[in-house]
């Protein structure tokens, strides 16, 4: 396997970079890497331009702040504004968010695709289910997706399985894209042993072997275009230099559901609802204290999930992250907090991803910033309350002695499931009461047949600029209710096949 560091092809010290290629791809995350590999293997001269640095597994650090400063956008401090501040976590490195994500793999549910087709029948022919399925199969093979091995699952995942069984809720070991995972529980800081098969370890080296070039540390500032043709991109290197890329065949935008619409708007390509329709899966978590040691920072990072309520828009996962993130979730401040930290090894934190209906906006802000606006609907908050209740019940069913919901206006710790039922009915209606975060993002350059209500056509081409493609989850017409990495990889592959045919 090719080491990531060797992907850093940026000519050193060059004052003004320029290149002529057939296709330039903006962003090296899930979408950009999948498109790059497919195009390069199809014989196309591809350049991938990535804003963030190339970081090798040997350089990953174990503390969460260090990892966030190294790999995450804005050191993990990007937020969506609304009634509440909601952290929006994203990658900014070679491989994008796939470098440090939880490695949970899901296929795009067919019922979600059917919803898309029901809303816009043109998608049935433009984005056929058979093509998506084929691409999903290929992604799963390539990334060696398999259920978590019980030998490395760790206690937190075993306990969630126990809780789900006791409540009769459907659950399963998560299917993950890892090879030889040792259960170090460090996925969210980047796997130090390179076991996670993120894009930095797989599609990007493969694209490079097939002839693609990657520039790391190069931020695209604008897409150049004239009339109905995209001409290339221009941008700034990490050291402040300028670069330009001319693309004779296509410009492929894969900068994520936040950055892609912003780049279009900055490039004066503001047609249609670009930057509108921002959707997510806000995540809420509940911590539970057990009598036995759990050490939730050990074992497969997220090795078990409860999927029985997916169609209600709720999906539950055993979380795994650095001890510092668990600590900041624990109740109190001062002596009470210190006590909880002292017995931190007995706490587990489990999360619920909510398929929220809310739609927000993403707009450029200042010279290179972004402003995300997002407000959960009342219906969404009802789901959040239900999610909190089920999380608490799962924890109690698994043997927790107390749970801490972290909800303002509700008991800091409760010691019986009874209070949880009341919580679903009577819990706060105010989004500011709930600590939440978002990692799955969609919908800001929606795909569709009508240029007034969508930004790209069903074949991923921009409605007006014919050789400009958007291939990341900003084109998803809605959120999907499951972890999106593999759906993004599959759809970007389908998009690249279309470019090869065009």
């Amino acid at each position: 396997m090719i080491q990531v560091a060797s992907l850093h092809d940026t000519p050193e010290g060059a004052p003004e970079l320029s290149a002529d290629v057939e296709v330039v791809i903006i962003g090296s995350g899930a979408a950009g890497a999948a498109a790059a590999r497919r195009l390069a293997r199809g014989g196309v001269r591809v350049l991938i331009v990535e804003e963030g640095p190339a970081v090798a597994p040997s350089q990953f650090v174990s503390d969460s702040f260090g990892a966030m400063a190294q790999l995450y956008r804005d050191a993990g401090a990007q937020v969506a504004f609304g009634p509440a501040f909601l952290p929006v976590l994203q990658g900014r490195c070679v491989g994008g968010s796939t470098v440090f994500n939880g490695a949970i793999c899901w296929r795009l549910p067919r019922d979600v695709w059917q919803e898309w087709v029901a809303a816009d029948p043109a998608l049935e022919g433009g984005l056929p289910w058979e093509a998506i399925e084929r691409a999903l199969d290929e992604v799963e093979r390539d990334l060696e997706v398999a259920p978590t091995d019980p030998a490395i699952a760790g206690r937190k995942n075993e306990l969630m399985a126990r809780g789900a069984a006791a409540l009769g809720l459907e659950g399963r070991p998560t299917r993950r894209n890892v090879r030889g995972c040792e259960g170090l529980g460090r996925c969210l800081q980047g796997c130090p042993r390179g076991h996670k098969l993120g894009m930095d370890r797989t599609y990007l080296p493969e694209a490079r072997t097939a002839g693609a070039t990657l520039w790391a540390g190069c931020r695209v500032d604008a897409i150049a275009w004239r009339g109905t043709r995209a001409l290339g991109v221009r941008g700034t290197t990490f050291s402040g230099g300028r670069f330009t890329v001319r693309a004779s065949r296509a410009v492929v935008l894969a900068a994520s559901a936040v950055q892609s619409p912003v780049l279009l708007q900055r490039s004066n390509i503001g047609d249609g609802p670009v930057g509108e329709g921002f959707q997510a899966h806000p995540g809420v978590s509940v911590a539970g204290r057990f009598d036995e040691p759990v050490r939730m920072w050990e074992g497969a990072t997220q090795g078990y999930e409860v999927i029985g309520l997916r169609r209600e828009g709720l999906k539950f996962e055993a979380l795994g992250f650095g001890a510092e993130i668990l600590a900041m979730r624990l109740p109190g401040a001062g002596a009470e907090f210190a006590r909880a930290v002292g017995e931190m090894d007995r706490w587990a934190d489990w999360g619920c991803a909510v398929r929220a209906r809310a739609r927000g906006t993403v707009r450029p802000s200042g010279r290179s910033g972004v402003k995300i606006r997002y407000a959960l609907t009342d219906e969404d908050l009802g789901r959040v309350r239900r999610g909190v209740r089920v999380l608490g019940e799962l924890l109690f069913a698994a043997g927790a002695r107390a749970v801490a919901c972290g909800v303002h206006g509700f008991a800091e710790q409760i010691d019986s499931p009874k209070a949880l039922a009341r919580f679903e009915e009577e819990g706060p209606r105010d989004p500011r009461a709930y600590p939440m975060a978002m990692t799955h993002l969609f919908g800001t350059c929606r795909m569709g047949s009508d240029p007034r209500t969508s930004v790209v056509r069903p074949d991923f081409r921009h409605h007006r600029i014919e050789n400009l493609y958007v291939v990341d989850s900003s084109v998803f017409p809605t959120n999907i209710g499951v972890n999106p990495q593999n759906s993004i990889l599959a759809l970007a592959t389908v998009a690249a096949d279309g470019i090869l045919r065009a």
Binding site: F60, D63, S64, M328, A333, A335
Partner: protein
């Protein structure tokens, strides 16, 4: 972010009150040198840096601003500091609660970076040597 010497001292005091020794033999946040980490806060975006600064000021002058006592956080005895923190944690104004949460976040990030703390909690016990 470059904290002034006064702000750094205030942040040290707040950290010490927020996270005293979690159990015998494990240092509290006041017993470890968090200054190198405070300097790392420059990696945060501007809004978050401003938030940290606002949290330091709000809590330092919390006795005056939140409970009408004409003194600063550092001059309160430990029990009164604790009561003030509890009050801020459940304050009816969202922004006030969020500032405390931000501070808790920053303190946890800094605290768990300390090698002695990491050893005490055996946080790295499985990691032998990263792949080269």
């Amino acid at each position: 972010m470059k904290l002034s010497a006064w702000e750094a001292r205030a942040l040290d005091r707040l950290a010490a009150a927020l996270l005293p020794s979690p159990r015998p033999g494990v240092p509290g946040a006041g017993a470890i040198d968090l200054r190198p980490f405070w300097r790392e806060l420059r990696h945060l975006p501007r809004a978050a840096r401003l938030g940290v600064r606002a949290a330091i000021w709000l809590l330092t002058f919390g006795p005056l601003l939140l409970i009408g006592r004409f003194t600063t956080f550092g001059r309160l005895d430990p029990a009164a500091q604790e009561r003030l923190l509890a009050r801020v944690a459940t304050h009816r104004i969202y922004l006030v609660r969020q500032l405390l949460q931000l501070l808790k976040t920053v303190v946890c990030f800094g605290y768990f970076r300390d090698p002695a703390v990491r050893r005490s909690f055996e946080l790295d016990r499985q990691v032998v040597a990263p792949e080269r």
